[in-house]
Symmetry: C2
Subunit: 211 residues, 2 copies
């Protein structure tokens, strides 16, 4: 692998993975960069350039081996083993994520659920009992947890992130509308849902500003 893969390429890898999964399900064995381009919408040259970052799995006149490429990208993305997760905040969005059984199948089991709301504590979601958030530090001390999911209010998010960092999580998946301050060694993947709505509206009211 080259020294440094650009963030833009890293963001496109999951997109490739989604399309390769479709191809696998359709029983397609080989695909050219042109055919992939027709499906994904990226240009064929963009695709070739992206996949060359990883040494290139394509062969001239033969295309990419779908199964091999799928396996390689899964490996590069680190999706070839399991990541234990906890989730803090079981409001509407938290419950939607906790109920999304696909994550369990993908190798992302949620092993702990936490909330401050007495109405939610004790509730069971996918066989996990929601605990009081004050139990989080103790839970992190006594369980191996790779990823902490934050679906709390904006006000609670930084404190929960601090506890997760202290508790040794390897990464934080953040849905709170806040840019968390954490040490560099703990990567944060943020999903600012409402920001995407705001950007969409910008493009609706400024049709001249579309790329």
């Amino acid at each position: 692998m080259k020294d440094k893969i650009s963030d833009a390429v890293v963001k496109r890898l999951p997109v490739y993975l989604r399309y390769l999964e479709d191809l696998l399900n359709e029983g397609v064995e080989h695909i050219s960069s042109n055919e992939l381009s027709g499906r994904i919408g990226f240009t064929a040259s963009q695709i070739r350039q992206d996949l060359n970052n990883f040494g290139g799995f394509g062969q001239q006149g033969y295309g990419y081996n779908v199964e091999g490429l799928h396996r390689e990208i899964k490996g590069i993305l680190g999706l070839d083993h399991e990541y234990a997760m906890v989730i803090v905040g079981l409001g509407n969005l938290g419950r939607a994520i906790a109920n999304h059984t696909k994550y369990y199948k993908m190798g992302f089991p949620i092993i702990g659920m936490f909330d401050v709301n007495p109405d939610l504590i004790g509730m069971r979601i996918n066989d996990i009992e929601v605990q009081d958030s004050k139990n989080l530090p103790e839970f992190l001390r006594t369980h191996h947890v790779d990823i902490g999911i934050i679906t709390t209010t904006k006000e609670a998010a930084q404190m929960i992130a601090d506890q997760m960092v202290e508790g040794g999580v390897k990464g934080i998946w953040n849905f709170a509308p806040l840019d968390l301050k954490v040490p560099k060694r703990v990567p944060v993947g943020s999903v600012h849902v409402t920001d995407t709505l705001n950007s969409l509206v910008y493009h609706i009211v400024h049709p001249d500003q579309r790329s």
Copy 2:
């Protein structure tokens, strides 16, 4: 306003807006680019450069007027009036969005809800009755709808997008794990939730690749 604002700036505007809302709530009247930088984490020179795109609202030695800047960015983002929305797909994620009353307060009322699941049709969420998805085209013909939200399966998403475009929506907010094919005049804001988890894991397993 300058001729073309880069996508990167457009994506940062909702971030500025979130922090300015906090400042308004705290009663802060003026803020310097340095103070803003301390909160948001962008550099002060980045902030000055971004806000200069819109003519610059700051005054030397005085900083930005929080209320004025907030109002201007709301206006630029088109958030100074209402957008009627419909949502198709009331699974876990769809229900989380439909239940998020903040969108109603922000000026994004959801006026129609649709699903194919007989168990969900007839259910009421925030006083709106979930209808059969087959009613969507008729609903779009008879109601003014600005934004269509897609929270269906990947398989259904393109067909629903086609119906939304045909029905005259001005933009699509897409949560299905699919890159929709729509005419250029209809902007799409996509939230690929699982992709962000995959990218996070990449950064966990490749600590040397962090920016």
